[in-house]
């Protein structure tokens, strides 16, 4: 079926975006009395962009790259991550998570790959928060808007961070920003993957290409098109419905845990203070 789609305009002004995001990283880090961030470098584009922005905001001594390979991680992942850290002249630490993950699942060999993948993401989060204490640093988030909206991430795992400069940029916009930041070509050209099991790719997991996903999400979320308008705009109903179902189904991941209200003023309900209070 030939569909005529009017493309949604996702082009950004990368220089201005860089300026806003480096301002954000610098201000939010310093306002809590820190001068540094730790960032988990996976060898992928998101963490590469986050680390480069932090390097520009805080200087070479303001960023510590943490590499956390598992025995099944793709060999290029660590190689590219190390090369990026060298290129940015930032400190780089390696903490292999194989012993922790395999030790945990030793008594439960039937555990499936999703459980294992989630455990790995949370193991990495746990290391990042521990290293952030050692380095008196904040944990820099790397989840992009596409992932956040689709819930394509592990709650309290890779979705956890202190500050996230990338959460309002779609994946295709991250690619545009990466070109502007001159992220090494090896990373830019790589097929996006969570690298939690061999041959995993994001687009296989999600069942759509990022180009299509970002277009549909931008129409539905940013431009507030209805389902019917989006379908009239040339998108298959099945695609639109799949995206809508994912967004709805993952709302819990984007919220702090619900607190049951039994008092006059309740955290998360009617006790509302800014996080940047007094800074």
């Amino acid at each position: 079926m030939a569909l005529r789609r009017e493309r949604s305009d996702l082009a950004i002004d990368p220089k201005l975006v860089e300026s806003v995001l480096t301002g954000f990283i610098g201000e939010e880090t310093r306002r809590v009395g820190r001068r540094r961030v730790v960032v988990g470098l996976s060898g992928g584009i998101d963490s590469a962009v986050a680390a480069s922005l932090a390097r520009r905001a805080l200087g070479a001594r303001g960023v510590v790259a943490i590499l956390m390979p598992y025995r099944l991680s793709h060999p290029s992942s660590m190689k590219d991550a190390r090369a990026l850290a060298r290129r940015l002249s930032i400190r780089c630490e390696e903490h292999d998570i194989t012993a922790a993950i395999d030790g945990y699942f030793a008594g439960d060999p039937k555990a499936g790959r999703v459980r294992r993948g989630n455990k790995m993401a949370r193991e990495r989060m746990s290391i990042l928060y521990d290293r952030s204490v050692v380095h008196e640093a904040l944990v820099l988030g790397t989840s992009n808007k596409t992932e956040l909206l689709l819930g394509y991430g592990t709650i309290h795992g890779d979705m956890a961070s202190s500050i996230n400069p990338l959460g309002d940029l779609y994946k295709t916009q991250i690619f545009e920003l990466a070109r502007h930041l001159r992220i090494p070509a090896a990373i830019q050209r790589k097929v996006p993957t969570a690298d939690l099991w061999p041959d995993q790719t994001d687009e296989k997991d999600l069942g759509m290409t990022y180009v299509d996903l970002d277009q549909v999400l931008h129409r539905l979320i940013d431009e507030r098109w209805t389902r019917a308008e989006t379908i009239r705009g040339g998108w298959l109903a099945a695609m639109v419905d799949r995206v809508l179902a994912r967004v709805r189904g993952s709302q819990f991941k984007r919220r702090v845990p619900l607190v049951a209200k039994v008092s006059a003023r309740t955290v998360g309900i009617d006790f509302r203070y800014p996080r940047d209070w007094g800074t």
Partner: protein, 284 residues
């Protein structure tokens, strides 16, 4: 007259620290021989206060902090923003003009944006008047941010003889499209130019810089002549300071060339407004 647009980056909920920034900027403005220094909306408190609104509120008559600001206005007039605790313990998003050590004018924000990323209606009471006041440099009106987006606000002030419109804002970066100012900022400047030209008055619009809670304020404060010509523009995003001269000549020239205010038909407007308002409530 000479005006300083003080595009500062206030701290959220720390009025004491922000007052220090104000006093420092005022001293500089004095040294520069300015007549007026304008700070952004909520310049003494920061913007995303939420429940801090009640805790940050100040009564203009009794607040020691506002007293200190008032005193500092002995040689240069000051427009600053704060949370006002008004009658009946209502909290207003307010801007005051202090002239020669005295409170000369207080504006309470009328239009409180409560949509999208904004939630002011939850925390603030709405002001209900637009008034001008006679300042040493001429008749002046103050609007706060969203007030300016409602064209009737500036129009009403102009009918009272306004020559200088001061707009204090906290305009954030929203969508950043390819090439150009952050979406929204272009609209601010366009609006400023249209209002200045068609109400034949000076417009001075002061935005803030810095960030809060993931928001980045866009900066880009500007001043426009009564011809609609942009006189000056501060930096985007970062704190900045801009001095502009607003001589009386261009005001006289613009009003002579385009006597739009002279030709306004206030009775017609009142009549038609009355008709439109009453027809809204007519039973079908």
């Amino acid at each position: 007259m000479k005006v300083i647009l003080a595009q500062i980056a206030p701290s959220l909920g720390d009025a004491e620290r922000n007052l220090k920034i104000h006093l420092e900027e005022i001293r500089r403005a004095e040294r520069a021989g300015a007549d007026l220094i304008v700070f952004p909306e909520l310049s003494l408190t920061g913007y995303l206060l939420q429940d801090l609104v009640a805790e940050c509120a100040m009564e203009p008559k009794t607040s020691p902090l506002l007293r200190r600001l008032e005193k500092a206005s002995a040689r240069v007039a000051v427009v600053a923003g704060f949370v006002e605790q008004g009658p009946g313990i209502s909290f207003y998003n307010a801007a005051a003009c202090f002239v020669k050590g005295k409170l000369a004018h207080l504006h309470r924000k009328v239009y409180l944006p409560t949509y999208g990323m904004f939630d002011e209606g939850r925390y603030f009471a709405q002001g209900d008047v637009f008034r001008t006041f006679e300042a040493p440099w001429g008749r002046t009106g103050i609007l706060i941010c969203e007030d300016f987006w409602h064209l009737s606000s500036s129009w009403l002030l102009a009918q009272e003889g306004m020559e200088l419109l001061v707009v204090a804002t906290n305009s954030p970066v929203k969508e950043i499209k390819a090439a150009g100012a952050p979406t929204g900022q272009a609209a601010w400047s366009r609006l400023g130019q249209v209002v200045a030209q068609f109400l034949t008055c000076y417009v001075v619009c002061v935005n803030r810089a810095g960030g809060e809670e993931g928001w980045t304020f866009a900066g880009g404060s500007f001043a426009v002549a009564p011809s609609g010509k942009l006189i000056g523009e501060a930096r985007q995003l970062r704190a900045d300071r801009l001095a502009v001269a607003l001589p009386p000549g261009p005001l006289r020239q613009a009003r002579t060339t385009s006597p739009l205010l002279r030709d306004e038909k206030l009775d017609l407007v009142r009549r038609e407004l009355g008709r439109i308002v009453s027809s809204r409530y007519k039973q079908e």
